[in-house]
Symmetry: C2
Subunit: 373 residues, 2 copies
């Protein structure tokens, strides 16, 4: 804990909680004294990255004595070509988390209002609070983020930013392209919509909205951490209007990206065949996880992502017991933080053996949770 | 360029220049249409990382679908054991640049004064300006940073931070341990000394000061980018008092580090034999570079780092011509930004073939510069 009387910390730094958005599974493994049997809690892609991305990392390892290109030129050009837009609309960074932090720093001064859904991405909230912004939340509409209330609330409080993830984490739900396009048309003047599309590669046809890259109302976030299976490489990118993308150069850590990660992401992007295979494996794993849920009396929610959120039919205390018991049995899963969604557990897709380990552990975990409640 | 009228950027963001601390060599390579023959401009270690670090990266590549441990537990423990201190005094981050950014964010509010030397590390200055701090500079004493003037100036302006690098970049000079220890004793109350020891592994015996890790007046910065040859992996660490180290958790990007980089740094730290070999290669390369300088009528400055700063004996305009002509000949070097040090060029150590390429290109580059001036 920082000394709250240390006069060298800024008033803002002194005001911040010492909490962190997520505890890593490694910390839990150290606490239990052995590794997890199945790692299904962080929506990582246990199907792994493209073999070509792995080969690119092997080839790039010895060259790690060199700093990465601070402009990530080759990767940025490849991403631009992939989307059929100009590279001036693309900012590459060390994962969406870093890009969100930079964006909040650029747009949110202390006291500025920001709108998000109650129970949406904690790391976004961490950045807003960390730069002194004031969070205003709106409830989900059932298991869906509520675009109309988000934009309405933004107009009401004069928000600088609105955050929405489509598909959504932690509920796995999604809105179709038309709904998001309508939301964009309702973004108030002097506000920017942050459209987090971390899971978009795994969503059904018709989910990707058409938004012109120079549309001044939106910045989109994409990542190599989910479908591309490179969470540990830290590569994400933003798509937005040129002046906003250029503004990142005023605050970002220009040499912050690992050289090997640029090489990995470039190879991953070029292997769309692998991405197609992952999508098919994710669809099959979602079905399998849904079956496990139903076999155990849980209700699997429809998912447009690489995880399945399962309604345990009871309260947050019960679901927390289930997550705890699963953890003790060697199965790492997480759950939504906020009611009413915390009635659910959230299980990432993975290969058959991981799902089988989850299926084997779930009945006992539910019994344990029932006994404890 | 960001639109200076965009009402969604903060006043601070709008006030920042669009400049970046360094242009990467890759941008220069793209401009000249071919790669550099010798990459001796960024004080990278062209001797490469430990073969064991490369092997660790190969072994870790396929696991890049997993996020890295946000606590970097194993690496932090190993660093702590290496220094014989508790891991609570260690914060690991994505290179010193990231740690400096976090530190400035924690300590410097808009308008807060910060003291550094005129011509010292531009990226530190970038962070201070980026968070609204006010830079106060003191001149070097010849080719050395001036500890007494730095602390005196800090007292005068009420600085939150003092920055000093020992050994120094870009001059390659260093102070002995006793001088730095005396400097620590002069740090004013309510001020923190940032002791950047990026090059300390390459300095002569007697350079590492004794500073207790819980000394409240100092935070030290170390890196795997220089002697360990892992600039592209982005791994640095801070050593400081527990409350200050803990404060990083309030603002840092917990999942910001590449998983493969943690593995690489851990293996590199464990291979002290390789570090010893690199030190010997750096000493030999410094001698060789000094010889090349003298052969061409330049004055090599003594160096406690992995680069040699060479006094061209004329002004900044002349040295800039030399750097430009070397670049056109395929030799990437840099130079100090600020007078009077910009009379020099700065050449990184490297293997024989790279130094030979530099030696072959230098006479013509000097002739070109003389003709232009």
């Amino acid at each position: 804990m920082a000394d709250p009387t240390d006069p060298r910390l800024t008033p803002l730094a002194l005001s911040l909680p010492a909490t962190v958005p997520f505890v890593g599974p490694e910390a839990q493994e150290r606490a239990r004294g052995k590794p997890f049997v199945a790692r299904l809690g962080a929506n990582e892609s246990a199907f792994g990255p493209s073999p070509k991305a792995i080969a690119a990392m092997h080839a790039a390892a010895a060259g790690s004595w060199q700093y990465a290109d601070p402009e990530a030129h080759d990767l940025r050009q490849a991403i631009a070509a992939h989307h059929g837009i100009d590279a001036a609309h693309i900012m590459v960074g060390e994962g969406i988390d870093t890009l969100l932090g930079n964006l909040v720093r650029l747009t949110v001064a202390p006291g500025d209002p920001v709108v998000t859904s109650a129970g949406a991405y904690p790391t976004f909230n961490y950045h807003v609070t960390g730069f002194g912004g004031i969070l205003h939340t709106v409830p989900y509409a059932g298991d869906f983020e509520d675009p109309e209330r988000l934009t309405a609330r933004a107009a009401e409080v004069g928000a600088k930013l609105i955050y929405i993830a489509n598909p959504d984490n932690p509920m796995g739900s999604h809105h179709g392209a038309a709904t998001i396009q309508r939301m964009v048309s309702h973004v108030p003047d002097s506000c920017l919509l942050v459209l987090d599309e971390a899971y978009i590669d795994l969503a059904p046809e018709g989910t990707v909205p058409f938004i012109a890259p120079d549309d001044d109302r939106v910045i989109r976030m994409r990542t190599f951490s989910k479908a591309y299976g490179l969470a540990g490489a830290r590569v994400g990118y933003a798509i937005g209007p040129r002046p906003l993308i250029a503004a990142f150069d005023r605050v970002r850590n220009h040499f912050g990206m690992a050289r090997i990660s640029q090489a990995a992401a470039l190879a991953a992007l070029r292997d769309q065949d692998w991405l197609g295979q992952v999508k098919a494996m994710v669809v099959a794993a979602r079905d399998r996880l849904a079956g496990v849920a139903r076999d155990n009396g849980l209700t699997p929610l429809p998912s447009a992502t690489n995880f399945v959120t399962m309604d345990c039919g009871q309260d947050g205390a019960f679901a927390r017991q289930v997550v705890k018991a699963l953890g003790e049995a060697g199965i790492f899963v997480r759950m939504p933080f906020v009611a009413p969604h915390d009635r659910c557990i959230r299980v990432s897709c993975g290969p058959d053996d991981a799902i089988a380990a989850f299926a084997a552990a779930l009945p006992q975990a539910l019994s344990t949770a029932r006994a404890a409640s």
